[in-house]
Structure formats: structure tokens, C-alpha cells
């Protein structure tokens, strides 16, 4: 399984289009030093709900399904994450267990950063921290939309269509 994405973020031509990755060269160089690249087949589970957060996973290529599960094994898909998204951010930052399960639905390339390295990287690089705040805000908007659709049977999208 080969990936078209280069191993160095500095050589990646896709990064200007990706919110987290579009960082200044000095920040990217620091990020390169803390990340580990992984090529994973589809159906790989990056992390499971209830597991302590080991780090974050930047999805360079491929998609991942984010879901929650009940004790009886009933699943509810929250959303499908695409390339450029950072998975496991909220658990890594809050130091809590993962609230969702992330499973790859394509053969994917992923950059993993350990929690400890991520926290010091974000403390040292304000630009990256601002990007993370923006990403988390977007994630939160999507999560609230999901709460709305599950709890009240509507979503922003359906409201827009209706209006």
C-alpha cells in the first residue's frame, strides 16, 4: 500500500488547503520532528471510545468514521472525517478518555503525535494553537448539529433546505 503524500509536511503540496497543516515553516519543521507517519489499511481503529488518549492523528489521506457505541453494541455514527482533519484532539487536550471511536474507512496515511509532544508543541507554537482552537470550534459546531438532529430530529442542513 503506497501513499502519494510525502513524509515531510514541508514537501506536502496539499497543506495550503488544510486548516491545521497551513502553518509557518518553522512551526511545520517542529511538527515534523514530533510526528510519526503511518500507512494504515481500511478498518484500522485509530482509537476506541473509553480508551485513554495517547495522542492525536492527523488524517493526511483517506477517511475515518467517528462513532459512539452503547454497552449493548449499538452504534451511532457521528460523522465521517476527511483528509486534513485532526482526530482525537479533544481527549488529548483535556486528558480524558476518547469520547468516540475512529475507524478508517479507506486505506489511509496518518501522522500521529503523542499527547505529551502535542501539548509542548502547542505551548511553543501559538499559530498551531490558534489552528487547533479553530478546528475544535468547527468540531463542536458539527457535534451540536448532531445533538440537534438526534435530539430534536432536525439539522442545520435540513433547516437551510427548508427555508
Amino acid at each position: 500500500m503506497e501513499s502519494a503524500i510525502p513524509h515531510s509536511c514541508l514537501d506536502c503540496t496539499l497543506r495550503p488547503d488544510r486548516l491545521f497543516c497551513d502553518l509557518p515553516v518553522s512551526t511545520l519543521t517542529a511538527f515534523n520532528a514530533v510526528k510519526s507517519d503511518m500507512v494504515c489499511p481500511r478498518n484500522t481503529v485509530l482509537f476506541r471510545e473509553g480508551q485513554p488518549a495517547r495522542g492525536v492523528f492527523v488524517l493526511c489521506e483517506g477517511r475515518a468514521k467517528l462513532s459512539v457505541c452503547s454497552a449493548s453494541g449499538k452504534h451511532l455514527t457521528l460523522r465521517v472525517a476527511g483528509p486534513g482533519e485532526v482526530l482525537g484532539l479533544s481527549a488529548a487536550l483535556s486528558g480524558s478518555d476518547h469520547e468516540v471511536t475512529a475507524e478508517l474507512i479507506d486505506n489511509s496515511q496518518v501522522a500521529m503525535v503523542k499527547r505529551k509532544d502535542l501539548l509542548s508543541f502547542l505551548r511553543e507554537h501559538r499559530e498551531a494553537c490558534l489552528h487547533v482552537v479553530t478546528l475544535l470550534s468547527q468540531d463542536l459546531h458539527i457535534a451540536y448539529d448532531r445533538v440537534r438532529s438526534v435530539g430534536l430530529g432536525r439539522s442545520r442542513r435540513s433547516r437551510t433546505r427548508a427555508s
Binding site: 459512539v68 481527549a91 501559538r126 451540536y144 448532531r146
Partner: protein, 262 residues
């Protein structure tokens, strides 16, 4: 009361800002004038900032007092800024066009409200309404974004707050989407509340019921009648006992069984 002009409620006057004297608001609140002298800030995620960041924050915030029932912002409204809750509690809810309401959370002092909308520039996702007289520090969107760019420590704390909010939202989706019954959701809610009160390890945890049956129904996505029926059933089975507005969980094991029935 709907949020309108910022100074519509009781904004702390600049005279009081500089005298350092405690100011009593009409709502019986002792206003904490300066974040720099606030004794509670070390216990609060966002507020525990270095002095230089706090000084900057001090210059952009508007300390405001609101009565119970004031709406800070409404779902769908363009983001004006953030609201740091200093005192009191705020109900965060979403609403359907038919008037059906779902309460996501009761925000406690120290929480920053309207964060994700202010950062992303998208409309507020929730409606925030005070359920006690509250002190709120408001910061305009452009001032807040500039503050975050200049103070990395504050930026990090905002990321932590957003993470907590995201975790809560996922928890809410799980509870609403995967719970089988209203009884299960009510049992989970009561256990959650008792654990927040530090009563989790007690044989018979106690909790103060600050919400009406209607509001509890809005928290678990059911009707007021169902909540009243469920409470009557819990009392009949001696799982809970009401003493005024205090609820005693008499049979925690039975409540746990109800909460994990899926």
C-alpha cells in the same frame, strides 16, 4: 428579557472600575470587579492566566450583571463575543421551530459561553439563558480574537474549554441517540448530578433539584408528564426519596441498573 444592547443590564461603571470598591448590583450580587483580585480564578480553567494576560483581558472585558431569566444570546444569532460566567448559572439549550426545547447543559461559574461561534464566526449554536442572577464578563469578538493571538496561554486554555465542550456534546449525542428509554436517561442524569456534588461515594447520595420537571424533561428529551411519572415510580419503589428540593438516592444499585439497561 432578550439580549440586546450590551449595557442594557447593569454594566459596572468605569467609576467603580477604578475605585476598587465592591459594587452591589440590583440583583443582590457582589460584583467581582477585577479578574486580577478574583479569589476564584485559580480554580477556573479559563481564568487562571498569567498576570500579563489577565491585565490585557481586564482592558477588553465588560463586567455585567443580569437578572434571572435574561437571554445572553440566541441560537442562530451572529456571534457578538464571548461571555465568561463569573457568578450564577446559565441554561444552554437548542430549540426546534415547534417550540420543543432540549437543554444541553447548565453552565457553572468559570465557563466561557459562545466560544465556538466567536472563534469560527458562525452563528451561535445554542441559546444561553440565566437561571440565577449572574455576573458575566463580556468580550467583543474582535477584541477576543486579538487577545487569543497575543496570549498563547489563553489560547491553550480556550482549546481546553472547547475540548470539554466537545466531549460533553458527544456524551449528549450518545445519551440521546443510544438510550432506550426515558427512565434510563433520567437514572443517568441523577447519577451524574450526584457525582458532580461529590456525593458519588456515599451510600445514599443527596442532590439538590434545581430544575423543574419541565426542565429535566428538556434535558433528557422527553415530556414533563413522563418525568413526573418516572419520579413517582422511583419514589414508590423507594429508589429515591424527596425531602423538599433535596433528592436522596436510597437505592443507588437499582438506579445504576436502570441507567445501564441498554
Amino acid at each position: 428579557m432578550v439580549a440586546g444592547r450590551l449595557d442594557a443590564p447593569n454594566e459596572v461603571s468605569s467609576a467603580h472600575r477604578h475605585t476598587g470598591e465592591p459594587m452591589l448590583s440590583p440583583y443582590g450580587l457582589d460584583i467581582i470587579e477585577s479578574c486580577l483580585t478574583c479569589k476564584m480564578r485559580t480554580e477556573r480553567i479559563f481564568c487562571d492566566l498569567p498576570t500579563s494576560a489577565l491585565q490585557s483581558f481586564e482592558s477588553i472585558k465588560y463586567a455585567t450583571a443580569y437578572p434571572k431569566g435574561a437571554v445572553l444570546f440566541v441560537e442562530g444569532q451572529a456571534p457578538r463575543g464571548i461571555f465568561v460566567l463569573c457568578k450564577g448559572r446559565v441554561k444552554l439549550s437548542i430549540c426546534a421551530t415547534d417550540g420543543k426545547t432540549l437543554i444541553l447543559k447548565i453552565a457553572e461559574p468559570g465557563e466561557v459561553l459562545g466560544l465556538s461561534a466567536t472563534v469560527s464566526g458562525k452563528p451561535y449554536e445554542l441559546t444561553a439563558e440565566t437561571i440565577d442572577p449572574c455576573q458575566v464578563n463580556f468580550v467583543k469578538r474582535e477584541d477576543f480574537l486579538r487577545f487569543l493571538k497575543e496570549h498563547s496561554e489563553a489560547c491553550f486554555k480556550v482549546a481546553e474549554q472547547l475540548s470539554e465542550k466537545y466531549n460533553n456534546a458527544c456524551h449528549e449525542v450518545r445519551s440521546l441517540g443510544l438510550s432506550h428509554s426515558a427512565g434510563e436517561k433520567l437514572a443517568k442524569l441523577l447519577l451524574e448530578w450526584s457525582s458532580k456534588n461529590g456525593e458519588a461515594n456515599k451510600q445514599e447520595p443527596r442532590l439538590k433539584l434545581a430544575l423543574t420537571h419541565e426542565e429535566i424533561a428538556q434535558m433528557i428529551g422527553t415530556s414533563r408528564e413522563t418525568v413526573t411519572r418516572l419520579f413517582a415510580d422511583l419514589k414508590k419503589r423507594q429508589i429515591v426519596q424527596a425531602k423538599g428540593s433535596t433528592l436522596v438516592i436510597r437505592n443507588k444499585a437499582a438506579l445504576k441498573v436502570m441507567a445501564s439497561s441498554n
